[in-house]
Symmetry: C2
Subunit: 488 residues, 2 copies
Amino acid sequence: MSDTDDGGGQELGITESKAHKPGEWYAEVVQKAELADYAPMGGFIVTRPRGYAIWERIKDHLDGWFKSSGVQNSYFPMFIPESYLEREKDIVEGFDPEVAWVSEAGHEELEERLAVRPTSESIITPFIARWVRSHRDLPMRLNQWCSVVRWEATDTKPFFRTKEFLWQEGHTAHADEDGAWTETMARLGQYERLYEEVMAIPGLTGRKPEHDKFPGAHTTTTIEALMPDGKSVQAGTSHYLGTSFAEAFDITYADVDEAERTAHTTSWGLSWRAMGALIMTHSDDQGLVLPPALAPEQVVIVPIWQEDTEDEVLEYSADLAADLDDEFRVHLDDRDERNPGFKYNEWELKGVPLRIEIGPNEVADGEVTMVHRPDGESEVADRDAAVDAVGEALDTVYAKLYAAAEATLEENIREAHGRDEILGTLGQHGGYVRTGWCGDEGCETEIKDQIAAEIVMLPLDRDEAPVHDTCGVCGEPAADTAYFAKNY
Amino acid sequence: MSDTDDGGGQELGITESKAHKPGEWYAEVVQKAELADYAPMGGFIVTRPRGYAIWERIKDHLDGWFKSSGVQNSYFPMFIPESYLEREKDIVEGFDPEVAWVSEAGHEELEERLAVRPTSESIITPFIARWVRSHRDLPMRLNQWCSVVRWEATDTKPFFRTKEFLWQEGHTAHADEDGAWTETMARLGQYERLYEEVMAIPGLTGRKPEHDKFPGAHTTTTIEALMPDGKSVQAGTSHYLGTSFAEAFDITYADVDEAERTAHTTSWGLSWRAMGALIMTHSDDQGLVLPPALAPEQVVIVPIWQEDTEDEVLEYSADLAADLDDEFRVHLDDRDERNPGFKYNEWELKGVPLRIEIGPNEVADGEVTMVHRPDGESEVADRDAAVDAVGEALDTVYAKLYAAAEATLEENIREAHGRDEILGTLGQHGGYVRTGWCGDEGCETEIKDQIAAEIVMLPLDRDEAPVHDTCGVCGEPAADTAYFAKNY
């Protein structure tokens, strides 16, 4: 069997180039690294074990942080009665065009259509209203990990654009604006921490312009990440909802002074788009690249032997694997039917951050040879110090990934002063263009019509002085700093 | 505020009796212990944080066992195209009457209706067929944690009967019958372990009669648990599917000798019915009773103070809580606005297995007073030995729960020899009636028509000699031992 055949007749390596055909390259990485496959219905994907394992680790990190900051998991029905969806007018206007409806079940027409949840404010908020009676019940913080469905008519792009996607949605109620704002920002901060510490991606945080807020929200905050193709991805948003949902669904509580007050609510969600951003940011023409915190296997040991050295090499390798197993996720690839070169390619394709090569020389010298996934750099360590050395090497891999992503981000935030310069900069480089903005949606439209870029965020601090005194598009006085970018 | 008011005007305690009105009592426990609430659509429930926390712990136990025995998690679409559902004829016949259909989405009629998954063989098996090429790809073991929808027209009973329910579904492919059978039995064994070690419920394992198998299965095995009202609950089933799905969806593989062979498959699932069985088995007229492994709080510390002893009692209690916190899930209830009696009732209602009372006497004597939830038995331990003592007390609580459930089960497996004796025994005692069975479904129907009991299982071992020589209903030679019971 040849080295480039995976046994099923499929070519193993990535054939497309990230630089030249990013869309095709991405689709190939996702499929060949066995992260996902296309479902028979357009817009749906199947998440394979290697993909789901990454999502599980993202989930474990966030879930731990949520729980240690007062959030409780729960589960609400996947269907929302049409009349409930209609109770908050902005929600129904915002989501109605994308809803999948169940109108027949058990061979009968339903009296009322049921929406497959596109987001769950409309079913969760009325229960928070039922459960909250007194100021002692606040804050109430609920979260659920589930899938939602939004019927958008676009090409399927695994994890980026799918009609059903996995996410978590948090829904909280607070006594006042201050509590709800603190919550909104705390969750955005946890998303940022996920990006930076776990995914090795520097995120940009900001707020959406008024015309691009979540339906019914007072303020929508966002974490944006820059993709290597120059587009921005929004994978997490945290909304301060003000009292709009609390009023629509009647969340009132008896305050300390016995007065009845209306609660302030938030909602916040992070979807598997974060996984899409992760794959696209770090991976290369050899395949998937993963930061150590999310890799299903952090270390793969590849023994290299001839007939006369087989026993000693395999024994040394197995012993090393056993030593590392307490601290790391280790796989010993001792398959007889594959040669080392094939194995290197396969584990590079699958994104294992660190490869350890063990041959007769390593055995003789009491050493281990470690090769970093992102750049092929190799280093040698003493066998006796292998546990510490592997830990340090994995930290180095993380640092390399983060530094590369950070450099790309820094190089790709540019300023521009006029309409032509904005269009020219976006056209030539992609990335973010920072400019003054008058606050008029029309100025965004002018850019959008020319180049399909939009204002992806404004600074979080509403009082921050605009970067320029005038709007980069119309020249009127600037009210804000806008970040224009093409986006997913 | 009175002691029996929870602050929201609702009475805190359980008012119905488990012995006399088990249905009403169950509904009250579920709602007042804040496990679940009724959704606006009949047949759906909302799982509140205290309920979901129990499900999460069930999930964590099973998921760990699955992963350490070769199972990989994945996620498949929640919708199944009608044409896929139709590819295995037994599945479509079995589930079609219960399917919820999406036929409109994004303001358009769909070309093909999509079933909201009632179970996922029809969408998972074709992908296993795509991924399996060679004997080296086998066994392939996939699992997903998700919800499914089955539109059954029955009264809602939280966790027992709901149109949408949470479960896990495992789907595996093997080279031969032997491998698939071993898998089927291994998963049944893990369900039994969950029941016994985690839920403190002795389970009965067996197989379903031919006419009550999972659609398309060669053999359906089941774990049944006896409820205090004399009915049997099936919460987990494990199916050996033979080659029926592999043939319908074309799972073939190249064997060692290069010959193309058809795989054998299994599927197995455990739903939140297990939670229903848990709540119903152990709880009592004071409310929820939980085994320590599943309780959100394993220990609650209730300090008892007067003004002059407040400081010393609270300090002693906080210090104890900090000590226990490393090993147990501990809650210190130091609310000022509630008296100890109110707190005792509240935590009994919510099912905390162990209450520790700390008053001035405990402080003076350097002791802790521990009270077991199931029976109110109290014991005193030295403060210095509190960590060990709490661990032992929790083991004792588990042992008491298991022993009580085991005694009930043993008392309620009875033999009967004729039609009248079967009906009389079931009518008088409920529980299981064991008898010889000829194998004819008609004999089950005769019993069912009289008393709504059915054959819930047969022995796992097909070669086991029947308990009686003749069928308990018709008197013809017996082929098997049947366990008749009323069931959920």
